[in-house]
Amino acid sequence: MIQVQGLSKSFGKVKAVQSVSFSAPDGQITGLLGPNGAGKSTTLRMLYTLLKPESGTAQVDGFDASQTPIEVQKRIGVLADARGLYPRLTSRENIRYYGRLHGLEGEVLEKQINALLTLLDMQAIADRKTEGFSTGEKLKVALARTLVHNPQNVLLDEPTNGLDVMSTRAIRHFILRLRDEGRCVLFTSHIMQEVAALCDQIVIISHGQVSATGSPDDLRKQTGKDNLEDAFVAAIGSEEGLA
């Protein structure tokens, strides 16, 4: 369960995020949709404790991200915009490192790693060094690393960026699966189709502000448009950044 209330953040004179509020319940996929530079990643970064908000609160399962960052970090799995791996470590070692930092160890950790390797169909690359992995392979490792501590809340920043069709499909199925397990999934995207296909709830952000929020149907009704793309354009007031 994620709750964001009146969140604001500036970098110098640029107001990246202004008074953003939304909530993402458990068992649902919430999509943050918006053009590039709209403030999606900054909002996520405040949620996952990397940046401190200037005002407002970001809460995960009732814990405040800036007051009790460690409690929040324990409860979230994050696929950040930066998703670099350690090229000299194998997939398994990359995942194990994060598992250990989350306090897992021994048999429990190894079992969890094996389960994720199977789930993401990556046994073949499990014990290879990640140097030279394809974008899809790297993403799988990063995703497994994100989920190694079995977090209730999963934050994914543009998870399908740069993937081919097959990998994109696999990741979308995976996201649906996370929801069906009852997790709170929050992800950002600027890809209309993806948001329409996956999200139970959409939060449209433009110029650092929430311009519309609701289910795909709600948004169509609110804007009086039949298709989601037109609804999106109507909500942000321009066609910039659409894909």
Partner: protein, 391 residues
């Protein structure tokens, strides 16, 4: 807390041990000092020894003009050779070290009791010729005063009349202390090796982490960000200590394998005890080197940028060691208060087998560790801020 820091340390150790190329580069710097110093000792040792043992070869032009001078020189074991046609260009070209020119009017002046002028041709900037030059000068001067004294005696004047001041040289420099000038460069190499052992690891763990895009996800893990900085700092220490050990072993090997007695005429007291003491004195520097480099590399956006800063960071604290070789400083209290400088003086003292104040060892260690602590604290604060993400 310790457990999570150790997880980071273990990961960095594994990661960096696999990066053979970069720690081998660090290792190269550890070998650099001993090899360079060994080479210099061999080269200079050979020059000193040869010059002392060998007879002076002196090309002379116009030897026929001064038979008694030539006889005197030959009496002193000088091998007199005919000079080349153009002695000056031969000296410039480096074919000969020194040449003596005796003019045709030498004999006439000599017989009439006037001052006879001879020319000694040499290049005073050529270090390898210095021994030959000063021997030739000394021989000519002693011939001059010998003849002068003979003349005075013949005229019934006591030679002491003109010798107003007699200089009696008491040189306290033993052959050993001359050789120790080389050893004074040791602290420079040791400290440089420590810094260079740590820097590839630190660069990879800080600037490299940011460059790969793995810093942001790492900082989302549930541990205070400052511990990440501390873990990275600690993980570089084994590499720095390894380099320190290799350097010291290298110096020990150089002094053990080279026939120092033959080369420099001294035996160097760099035994296992001194080695262990130098190692312990240097441990606080290891902590400081890792702390300061972690802080600086954390500011760098890329490994390339970090690679331009860190060599200077290592150079600055090691430079006083180089200066110490030429400007000896007494181990006073204020010197111990300067981190790395105090240790360099202490290392020198160990090498010279001088009595060492335990208080000085303690003070230099405490001050160095204190500074390392302050820098670590700044690094922790840096990691806690937002700046660390972008660099």
């Amino acid at each position: 807390m310790i457990k999570k820091i150790m997880i980071i340390v273990q990961k960095e150790l594994l990661d960096n041990l696999r990066d053979t190329r970069s720690w081998m580069t660090g290792l190269f710097w550890a070998m650099f000092g001993p090899i360079l110093l060994g080479g210099m000792i061999m080269l200079l040792g050979n020059t000193i020894r040869e010059k002392v043992e060998e007879a002076l070869v002196l090309p002379v032009a116009g030897a026929e003009n001064a038979p008694s001078l030539i006889a005197f020189l030959e009496q002193q074991d000088v091998i007199v050779q005919p000079a080349p046609a153009d002695p000056e260009s031969a000296v410039i070209a480096g074919d000969i070290n020194v040449a003596l020119i005796i003019p045709a009017d030498y004999g006439e002046n000599f017989s009439t009791g006037k001052t006879s002028t001879v020319q000694l041709i040499f290049d005073s900037t050529r270090q390898s010729a210095m021994a030959d030059i000063s021997r030739a000068q000394n021989l000519l001067e002693s011939y001059g005063s010998y003849i002068g004294l003979l003349r005075l005696s013949l005229r019934g004047v006591s030679p002491e009349m003109i010798r107003v001041v007699q200089i009696e040289e008491v040189d306290t420099a033993t052959p050993q202390s001359q050789a120790l000038i080389f050893l004074s460069m040791l602290p420079y190499f040791i400290i440089f090796a420590i810094f260079n052992g740590a820097s590839p690891v630190i660069t990879d763990a800080t600037a490299g982490e940011r460059e790969r895009g793995s810093l942001e996800p790492l900082l989302i893990n549930p541990l205070p960000r400052g511990w990440v900085a501390v873990g990275k700092m600690i993980s570089a220490m084994p590499f720095a200590i390894f380099n320190l050990t290799i350097t010291l072993a290298g110096f020990a090997a150089v002094f053990g394998l080279l026939p120092m007695e033959e080369l420099l005429g001294v035996q160097i007291g760099f035994d296992l005890g001194a080695l262990a003491a130098v190692f312990l004195v240097c441990l606080p520097i290891v902590i400081l080197a890792c702390a300061i480099q972690t802080l600086i590399a954390s500011f760098a956006k890329t490994t390339k940028e970090a690679g331009t800063y860190l060599p200077f960071v290592g150079l600055i604290p090691s430079l006083p060691g180089l200066a110490l070789a030429f400007l000896p400083v007494k181990p006073e209290l204020w010197t111990m208060l300067i981190p790395t400088f105090g240790q360099q003086i202490l290392i020198n003292q160990f090498l010279r087998a001088e009595p060492i104040s335990e208080m000085n060892i303690l003070i230099s260690a405490v001050v160095t560790i204190l500074l390392a602590g302050i820098i670590t604290f700044i690094a922790i604060k840096l990691y806690e801020g937002e700046r660390i993400i972008k660099g």
